[in-house]
Every structure is written in structure tokens, then in C-alpha cells.
């Protein structure tokens, strides 16, 4: 009596699995659409609204000084609104990669990127900072009185336009206060980075900041906030909206405030810095470097390009981070970067990397395919076994295993190859999300940005089609019709899920499928030929016997 009940149970389990898979995929997509994207829009709107308010406030009260208490540190980190108005810009620096504007408070008010790939959706050049955030090189004095005064007195620049396109150029910013004189000597280099030498007279202690992170692309797909590299080789990452108290750090070599692709950072690998990371009203980090009365630093504000950063200092490579998967994503990026230096196109680099990974795994997959084909010839025996033990899955699998052992073949690919796929997949995913190099990187035809989804859904559909094909030509050992149905349904689910994935990732999966199919086809043909040869030999022997 238990029999019909059992088969029903089995079916409902499988239906449940199917349902759960579909549900979880739908959940991720719905989450992306209904939660992440509207939230992003809301943030954008709020930013816009805020900046309007700030501009209005500014016209009333031009420089709002922060309330600084007399404690050791500027407690109130509410940034002074930076003015969108050009009138407050005292000097403009042109380098080969960017245009830097410095305002009346001696801060970097804006950095405009020059590279042709750094344009927003409307084709405008990308500006790193939004209005009401803390700006790079803002100074806070330890003495509250001096600090208040410093926000009222304008800084004087030695020159109003500086051209650092062909060689380095220096500008001196001076702020004359009643008790002290603050001097910032900034040397800009053609590659866009700068050296910084700040000093205050009369032993007046101050703090300097690398600023709040660029606000070009900060979403929930990748980390954004503050990243500090310490001289013991460790990293401290403080994500936005994730602070519960201020943090003090010593032995800091580089302090970077970053969004997905861009950073503003101050570094010094010769003498380390002490830094207070304060919490702003959104519980996001604002970094202040303890300067005493003078400090020498290097600075950079721009894209987190591997080559640019490592040209400044090899150790700055750690400023680029890929989340949890850094340990595998970083080597993956280095491989991609290495291949790209020969190939020159990121799309082809991904194709080539896929082939390379396939080649490395070739011995594994080939052996698996061969033994799977070997077993295909045993399929009548397998079917008989399954028929015999159809009520007892465990027993069936035990007997099957015995059969495999007897025939010296095991049809399964094994768990390891599948598990190995997962980190590779995630590594490529993270690299595509985080690597600025892949932003706006074209491949062929309609693919003009591998970092975002395919606008015409061609790659995902090709991916689904090849996946289906791959399943068709792979001899499978599944005999349960329900299980087979679920299996056949997988390409559809995958296609659906990949629709919104970065095109580069879909490209990787597509090429991967293509080569699996090729390999499988090849193995299948060898076996077919071998079978025919055997058959012919058999026939020959028969006729031979007859003749005798």
C-alpha cells in the first residue's frame, strides 16, 4: 500500500524543488527591480533636492562654520557646504587626466575626469563629487576659535590657473588667520596625482581629510565607503551607513574614500598616519588625518585603475577591492589584465580566458566525458537495475555503484569540478562589477559595454540556447522522467536570470558552453567511430567463419 503513496511523495518533493528554484530566482530579480533600483532613484532624487537646498542656504549665509567643540577633535563633522558657484573657485589645475578646482577654503571642490570613457549617461564628463559632502584637503584646527575663523577667511592662491599637462606644476595656497598662517603647497603631476605639503605657524595643530567618497556610482552591488591600508599589511574597510561610533587608527599608509569605480585618497608609505574616522549624519565615514602642525602627503582623486594606481605606488593596488571574493577576484583580474595587455580588447580577453580555464580543466572534463560515454553502452543494464529497484532509491544507487566498479567506469563528473566553477564565476562577476577598466569596454557588434547588461538580450538567449544544446548532446544517466523535466527546464531559468547580468559574465558562460559542446561532440564522435569499427570487425569475423 505504501507504493503509490511513495511515488506521490517523490513527485511532490521534486515539484517543491522546482518551485523553490523558480521562486528564488524570481525573488532575486524582483528584489533588484522593486527594491534596489527605486532606492537608487530615491537616493539620486534626495541628493538633487539636498544640493538645491544647500545652494539656497549659501546665498543667505555664504560660509557656514561648523560647531567645533574644544575637545581634541572636530566633533561635528557636518561638512561645510561646498559651493556649486564658480565664483568661489580660486584656482583651476589642468593635468592630462583631469581638471581640479580649488575653492576659497583651500579644498578640492571638484575633479572633472578627461578620459573619453568617463562620461555619464548624458555624455557629460564625470565630476567626482556631489554638493554637500566633505571635500578633499579641508582643514580642521584643533583650537575651536581658530577653526571657526578658518571657515570665514578666504584662502589666497599663488596663481589662478595652473597647467600641469606637460610637466609638474606647483601652487601655494595661503590662509592668513589672526594667530596662525596655514600654507598648503600643492604640486600637480601630468598623470593627475599631487604632492601635498601643509604647515601651520605658531604650533597650531590641525587635521586634514581626503574628503568624502566620490559619488558617481554607489549602489548596493559593490562596497563603498572608506578603506585604510595599515603598515602591518592589513586593510580596514568602513562601509557607508554602517558606523556606530568613531574609530581611531594608527599606522595608516593610505586612506581612500571610494565608490564603485572612483576614489579620493591620501597616502604616505614612508611615514604612517594617525587617522580619526568620524561618523556623519548618515553614519558614513569621514576621515581626518592627524597632522600636528605640518604634514607631507601624496594625493589622488580619480578612477581606481590598476595601472594608474600601481604607477603611483605598487602598494596602492590594495585600494582596489572586490568584496568577499577579493582573494580569488584579484588574481583573476591580474590574469585578465595580463592577457589584455596582449589582446587589447576586453571582450576577446574574456573569450580567451574562458578557453584558458577550459584548457586547464581539460584533463578532468575529458576523462569524465569518456567514462560517461563508456557507460552509455551499458545503459540497458542500468535501466534493468533501476526497474528492479525502482522503489528503493538507495538500493538502486548502491547496485549502480557496484556496476560502475565492475565495468571500471564512473559516469559522474564529480562534485569538485562543479564546486570549482562557483568561485571562478563569482570572481569574474566581481571583477566585472568593480573593475573600472571594464566600464565602457566594448566587444563586437552591439556590445559596447561589458560591465552592464546586454541591451538586446542576445547574449543571454544565446547562452540559454547553447546550454540547452549542451544538455541534449550530453549522455545523461537520469532515468526519472520528473527529474529529467526539471533538468530540461534549467536553461530557461538560467536564461531568465542572466538577462540582467553584466554582458561580460554572460559572454563567459556562453563561450564556456560553446566549448563544452565542442568537446562533447568530439568525444561522442570518437565513440561512435569506435563502435562502428567494432561492429565492422564483428561482421568481418562472422563472414570469415562462414567461409571456413
Amino acid at each position: 500500500m505504501a507504493q503509490p503513496n511513495d511515488t506521490m511523495n517523490k513527485q511532490s518533493t521534486q515539484k517543491r524543488i522546482l518551485l523553490a528554484t523558480v521562486l528564488s530566482f524570481t525573488f532575486f530579480i524582483a528584489y533588484d527591480f522593486l527594491y534596489l533600483q527605486p532606492q537608487q532613484k530615491a537616493v539620486n532624487l534626495a541628493n538633487k533636492a539636498n544640493s538645491e537646498i544647500v545652494v539656497k542656504q549659501n546665498s543667505v549665509n555664504n560660509s557656514l562654520a561648523p560647531n567645533v567643540t574644544s575637545t581634541a577633535l572636530p566633533m561635528n563633522t557636518t561638512p561645510v557646504p561646498s559651493d556649486a558657484v564658480d565664483a568661489n573657485i580660486i584656482t583651476t589645475i589642468e593635468t592630462l587626466t583631469n581638471k581640479i578646482e580649488i575653492d576659497t577654503l583651500g579644498r578640492i571642490a571638484q575633479v572633472t575626469l578627461k578620459g573619453k570613457q568617463y562620461v555619464d549617461g548624458n555624455g557629460k564628463k564625470i565630476k567626482l563629487f556631489t554638493n554637500e559632502q566633505l571635500r578633499p584637503l579641508e582643514i580642521r584646527f584643533r583650537n575651536a576659535q581658530v577653526n571657526n575663523e578658518a571657515f570665514k577667511v578666504n584662502v589666497v592662491a599663488s596663481s589662478s590657473t595652473i597647467d600641469a599637462r606637460s610637466s609638474k606644476a606647483t601652487v601655494t595656497l595661503t590662509q592668513q588667520l589672526s594667530t596662525t598662517t596655514l600654507t598648503k603647497v600643492l604640486t600637480f603631476y601630468p598623470d593627475g596625482h599631487y604632492d601635498l605639503d601643509v604647515s601651520a605657524t605658531n604650533n597650531e595643530n590641525f587635521f586634514i581629510t581626503p574628503g568624502f567618497r566620490p559619488d558617481v556610482l554607489a549602489d548596493m552591488y559593490a562596497d563603498h565607503g572608506a578603506l585604510l591600508t595599515l603598515n602591518d599589511g592589513t586593510l580596514t574597510i568602513i562601509e557607508d551607513e554602517d558606523m556606530d561610533k568613531a574609530v581611531e587608527l594608527i599606522g595608516v599608509n593610505a586612506a581612500s574614500a571610494f565608490d564603485r569605480y572612483y576614489t579620493t585618497l591620501l597616502y604616505n608609505f614612508k611615514t604612517s598616519m594617525s587617522i580619526s574616522v568620524m561618523m556623519d549624519k548618515n553614519e558614513s565615514p569621514n576621515m581626518f588625518i592627524h597632522a600636528q602642525d605640518k604634514i607631507k602627503l601624496h594625493g589622488y582623486a580619480g578612477p581606481k585603475e590598476y595601472i594608474t594606481l600601481t604607477n603611483l605606488d605598487d602598494r596602492l593596488a590594495s585600494v582596489i577591492e572586490y568584496g568577499w571574493f577579493t582573494f580569488i577576484a584579484k588574481p583573476m583580474f591580474q590574469l585578465l589584465q595580463f592577457l589584455h595587455s596582449y589582446i587589447g580588447n576586453w571582450g576577446w580577453t574574456i573569450v580567451f580566458t574562458t578557453i584558458l580555464i577550459k584548457l586547464v580543466l581539460f584533463p578532468l572534463s575529458h576523462k569524465g566525458m569518456v567514462s560517461m560515454n563508456k557507460l552509455k553502452e551499458l545503459s540497458p543494464k542500468v535501466k534493468a537495475l533501476q526497474e528492479k529497484y525502482k522503489d528503493d532509491k538507495q538500493k538502486a544507487s548502491t547496485h549502480m555503484m557496484e556496476l560502475y566498479k565492475k565495468e571500471g567506469a564512473n559516469p559522474m563528473g564529480g562534485c569538485l569540478p562543479i564546486i570549482l566553477q562557483i568561485p571562478v564565476f563569482f570572481a569574474i562577476y566581481r571583477v566585472l562589477l568593480n573593475a573600472i577598466e571594464l566600464k565602457g569596454a566594448p566587444w563586437i557588434l552591439w556590445i559596447d559595454d561589458l560591465g552592464v547588461m546586454d541591451p538586446y538580450f542576445v547574449l543571454p538567449i544565446l547562452m540559454g540556447a547553447t546550454m540547452y544544446l549542451q544538455q541534449r548532446i550530453t549522455p545523461n544517466t537520469m532515468t526519472d522522467p520528473m527529474q529529467q523535466k526539471i533538468f530540461q527546464f534549467l536553461p530557461v531559468i538560467f536564461t531568465f536570470f542572466f538577462l540582467w547580468f553584466p554582458a561580460g559574465l554572460t559572454l563567459y558562460w556562453f563561450i564556456n558552453n560553446l566549448f563544452t559542446i565542442g568537446q562533447q561532440y568530439f568525444v561522442n564522435r570518437i565513440f561512435k567511430n569506435a563502435k562502428i569499427a567494432r561492429h565492422e570487425k564483428h561482421l568481418e569475423e562472422k563472414t570469415h567463419k562462414k567461409k571456413k
Binding site: 569538485l416 537520469m478 527529474q483
Partner: protein, 114 residues
Amino acid sequence: MISKIILLCINFYQKYLTILSYGSCRFHPTCSSYAKVQFENNNIFKAFYFSTIRILKCNPLFDGGFDYVKVKCPRKDKQQFKKLKFTKIKIKYWKVPVENNYCLVLQHNKKWDQ
């Protein structure tokens, strides 16, 4: 505690994710059920070690086949025997002694009850 979390993960995997890797294990029992038995019968470090080795071996370069969890057999404790209450129990595992005081751990099959 950590074992429990790992077991939960394995259960989740077995229930919902096996579809992605269905029918790929070269062993009997499969890697996931092997790991489950390990974490339920062995201490966490050993369980972790043996499960990892098992997964690493689950590729076409190794033969696969039968590979049951092996643990030290429970000691025959007379004191404990006295305390035994003879009530109906639910059988989950059979520990089958093999050699050197080691037992294979076999999962109980509900079919055997009937």
C-alpha cells in the same frame, strides 16, 4: 553549534540546490550526505577534514565508488547498559563494526522498517 549551522546549510543544499549538480557525485553515499553523516557523528574538526578530502577526491581523476563514514565504535559501557530504557526508539544510523574498533556509519533506510 557550528556543526548545527553547517548541517542546516547541507540540508538547505540537499533540498533546494542539488538540482544544479544533480547526479554528478562519483561516490556512494553522495558528498553532501557523507558530510551530513560526518557532522552528526564525528567531532567538528575531523568532520570538516574528512568532508573536504571527500569533495576534493570527487573528480574524474579518482575512482569514486563506495565510501562510508568511518568512526571509532562506541565503547561497551556496562553502567550505561544498566541505565538503558527499553522504549521504542527512532533509528537513524547503524554502526557496523569493521576492523580495529572502527565502525562504518550507515544511514537507516525507512524501507527497512516494513
